[in-house]
């Protein structure tokens, strides 16, 4: 950026009195010697005068008594309950930081409650049962055990050998079957 561009960037702040004394002196010194920046200053001052003419000169004084009466009337009149709620909602949900916060909270809550679909048995699974549940069982006369292993959340259906020998090899039966 050239020196003139820098000066013109600072012109508004200089005319508004927002520069430090040294910065202000630098701009003033430059404008005194640069025709282009002097013209930029003239235009900005002309704009400011026009703005003052439109915004300040147009606003004639308003009478206080009728104004105050109307404010009092509003204070004393009862408003429908839903106006207050809708006003409150507008203030809360359209505040810039909150406006972002609401969708973020919705997405986070959805993610937490959907976690169980992708990671069954996770601690945030919303309390869903991660065990398989046995609705019915018919072992056709055999002994059967229903077992649950808590750490791996596993349901086990264990079929014991009946006495009449489905045992193929005659192995020590005490070694057969899980010992939970």
């Amino acid at each position: 950026m050239t020196n003139c561009e820098n000066m013109r960037e600072s012109m508004g702040r200089w005319l508004d009195g927002e520069l430090s004394p040294s910065e202000s002196a630098a701009v003033q010194a430059h404008v005194a010697t640069c025709a282009g920046c002097a013209e930029a200053r003239r235009q900005l001052e002309s704009l400011q005068r026009a703005l003052t003419g439109v915004l300040v000169a147009d606003a004639a004084p308003i009478e206080f008594i009728p104004f105050w009466r109307e404010v009092q009337r509003r204070i004393n009149s009862k408003r429908p309950w839903y106006e207050d709620i809708s006003q409150w909602a507008r203030e809360v949900f359209t505040a810039p930081r909150v406006a972002w916060g609401v969708p973020v909270v919705i997405v986070v809550l959805l993610a937490v409650f959907s976690l169980d679909s992708y990671f069954p048995g996770n601690p945030f699974g919303g309390g869903r049962n991660s065990f398989a549940s046995v609705e019915s069982i018919d072992a056709h006369g055999r002994s059967v055990a229903l077992l649950r292993e808590n750490e791996s959340k596993t349901t086990v259906i264990w079929l014991y050998q009946n006495e009449e020998g489905e045992n193929e090899t005659g192995e020590d039966r005490s070694q057969a079957g899980p010992t939970f």
Binding site: A99, L110, P120, V134, E135, H140, Q175
Partner: protein, 155 residues
């Protein structure tokens, strides 16, 4: 600048559209097309202390059965339509027949029958978490016992 102003509103609309897509009723209003059923046939025995590397991921489940060694015999995966049936060959001349019943609350309801030849060994109906499994074990096999891991994933 304008995008920065409307971005929070767009984000809110997007998040609300995600909410609208959720199925909160828990009912099986949109049934998946079929179920992918996987049967892992495993030999559990006490002859040695080996754990087949193919069974990685199942250590916790299998070791709770308290056998000393576990060996993968066969893995079989088939797609089964809802209300249809599918049979799986199981070592030892057995057949496992699976019939997916319904999908509800992210759980798959399965009817399962194990037969030895023509003789039914066990009939059971089990509800398992989608992509989860249960263990059916106990039938003797080659000096140990057969352990079947039955898992189902709705597609």
């Amino acid at each position: 600048m304008k995008l920065a102003k409307i971005a929070p509103r767009l984000a809110l609309l997007f998040s609300l559209s995600l909410v609208a897509q959720q199925d909160f009723t828990g009912a099986a209003e949109k049934n998946p097309q079929s179920v992918q059923v996987t049967i892992r046939s495993i030999l559990a025995e006490n002859k040695n202390d080996e754990f087949d590397a193919k069974l990685k991921g199942m250590e916790q489940q299998l070791k709770s059965l308290k056998y000393r060694s576990y060996r993968s015999l066969k893995d079989d995966t088939k797609s089964v339509p809802w209300q249809g049936t599918q049979s799986f060959d199981i070592p030892g001349g057995r057949i496992l027949t699976v019939a997916p019943q319904e999908f509800q609350d992210n759980r798959v309801s399965l009817k399962v029958r194990l037969t030895q030849g023509d003789t039914p060994v066990v009939d059971t109906t089990v509800k398992i978490p989608n992509k989860g499994n249960f263990i059916l074990g106990g039938p003797p096999h080659e000096g140990g016992v057969l352990v079947l891991s039955i898992s189902a994933a709705a597609q």
